[in-house]
Amino acid sequence: MSSSLHLWVIPLLPLAGAAINGFFGRRASKKAVTTVALVFCGLAFAMALYVSARFFSLSLPYQEVIAPWIRAGNFSIDFAFYLDQLSLVMLLVVTGVGFLIHIYSVGYMWDDPGYYRFFSYLNLFMFFMLSLVLANNYLLMFIGWEGVGLASYLLIGFWFTRDSAASAGKKAFIVNRMGDFGFLIGLFLLIKHFGSLTFSNVFARIAPLNPETAGAGLLTAIGILLMFGAAGKSAQIPLYVWLPDAMEGPTPVSALIHAATMVTAGVYMVARSHVIFERAPSALTVVAIIGLLTALFAATIGVAQTDIKKVLAYSTVSQLGYMFLACGVAAFSAGIFHLMTHAFFKGLLFLSAGSVIHALGGEQDMRRMGGLRQKIPWTFWTMTGGTFAIAGIPPLAGFFSKDEILWRAYQASWVYWLIGVFTAFLTSFYMFRLWFMTFFGEYRGDVEKPHGNEPTVIAAHSNDAHASTAHGHGHIHESPKVMLIPLVILAILSFAGGWVGWPGSLGGNNRFDKFLGPVFRTTAPEINAEHAAPGEAAPPEQGTEGAEPHANRRTELMFTGISVAAALLGLFLADLLYRRRPELPEKIAIWLDGLYDAVAHKYYVDELYATLLVKPLIDSSTRILWRGIDQNIIDGAVNETADGARHISDNVRHMQSGNLRSYAGWIALGSALVIAYMIWMGLQ
């Protein structure tokens, strides 16, 4: 590598932006803050584009060592960056979508008093996310991993004066810590048994090993622990509970962190560790099952939510489940493909939802929306693009990625496929439900007094006519251009972003899969040779669909047809229930009383966790740690010491009367005692 790419600049640019805004933003004007935030983020994006322009002339994987970090015996870790096809995809997604959301935030957050703080955090997030993506070892990745958790915490609790936001931030942070615990132990195991955390070293040492076919082993343990970490960050069962609550944060944050980028870090990590997972079939099965269950579970909850952002949150959890399902059937490139398209369309959906909320002056309840189609046409059309994309209607992005996952899942086991298709149907249903409830029918909201769920959006924009009236959202209005442009760009990406993965069965050649191929194929042949896929044994495919036999291609087309049909069924059902017969859902809810109740209350999982985990923990902490150890023993010791000292001094201080002659008396007495002692000693 003669000329360096200076990869290290990419994460450092947003960090510089965060530092400048964080330290000086309070006094700077909003324009200056905006400039700093956008320029540094935009430069990172430009750098990423530059890197991708030079990408094909590099010898991959490209590594760049900045500085030595830890040297302890045989163990060594550097500050070093790593670039291959996988990191490049992540890099472009993070900087690209991140930059668009930065632009959008300018409009969305303009009237918030914490404007500079918001952008400082957002840039900080970009820094950590980029270090996570570009790290060349697990430790640096872990730093980024923790850092995005921190940024997420700060941004969820951005409106920290609101109690629910503060506790949602805490919840996210604590739940993530549990996952990180698993991740860390996995890393310790890696150090202990492979003596390194650098990707290339670890994978080189693992690659010669045989798959652990007979149940559990070291690699399986590491795999499951890593998956536990990923489940925390990417909101999978059993640690998904924080993500819906994270919607307390500003909507751009939900879009950037809790939909497009951070939550996909778990998928990225599992894909990055594919060498480990491929040799631990049981761990892979665990990944697949967790992903599948989460996808189904979250989708069913999403059906009964009424808060527009909560629907999208559960949808995110569900889509992340798909990605893990893909990883779990060793179709890593399909998972990353879905990750990318999901970043486009879910970012778009969240931003559009933000635009809707903005238009309604902070209203988030879909029951109070409706008929917004003509009033905010731009938002309507972008939202439509996102909805059709996520529902999997061809030829939008979501169709290709979801279809590929389902097809690969079918090759592993038809059960995976069946549940996957059912989830696809649910996805389509709740998304179109959202779409119909928001944009069609009659407006059900109360125009007179807007509900201020999101404090920031109550006030209008400076370039809007009614800027001065604080609660002056008398009428519904379209968002400003600075918010619409990112929406349109994302809509285009959501529309066309899937074409890079046009599958072979539809006459394409799945360029995306081929592009990522070198990353995941390095060890793949061995897998296919040594253990047949569990369940329905599929012909060895190795990630490229071009080499498929024709009969297989026809089956694949049939399955594609089925999943499209499922999506259309969801559309039809949502149309029936929420547009043509709006009285029906209530009847159904009454008819399915218990079930509906359970779903509407998210299966009481939060309550279950509260009784099983949180309450005992708080109780024992209160009783034993706080009252017992802290108050009685630690504070007790300190207080006793102080009390004792005061007691003694209370008695002794009478000596200090301030009466000169009493002092003289004490001196005389003392010297008399000394003299007496000396005389007595002399007499002895």
Partner: protein, 100 residues
């Protein structure tokens, strides 16, 4: 020749008188005089020892003490006069502005 213990006893008695006077008297002049008494009691023991041991250092020491006592008397009396002028009393118990 008077033996040493006599001198020492007298010295002790003088010193004790000084201490007692210092402790029980309130008039600042009297207290001052008691201090002088203590100093002189000590002086007496110095010269007695000096004579007994035929060592001059004791006598030299007495001169020092006397010089210090003279200086002290000068400063002390000046202070007393100043106190009397401002407070119009010589009672030490009433000179208590610095007391808490």
């Amino acid at each position: 020749m008077v033996p040493l213990p006599y001198y020492l006893m007298l010295s002790g008695v003088l010193f004790a008188c000084g201490v007692t006077g210092f402790l029980i008297k309130r008039n600042i002049i009297t207290i001052f005089m008691s201090i002088e008494l203590m100093l002189n009691g000590v002086n007496l023991s110095f010269v007695a020892f000096a004579a007994h041991w035929h060592a001059l250092s004791g006598q030299v020491f007495v001169f020092f003490v006397m010089v210090v006592a003279a200086a002290e008397a000068a400063v002390g009396l000046a202070i007393i006069i100043a106190v009397y002028r401002t407070r119009e009393t010589l009672n030490v118990d009433q000179v208590n502005l610095l007391k808490l």
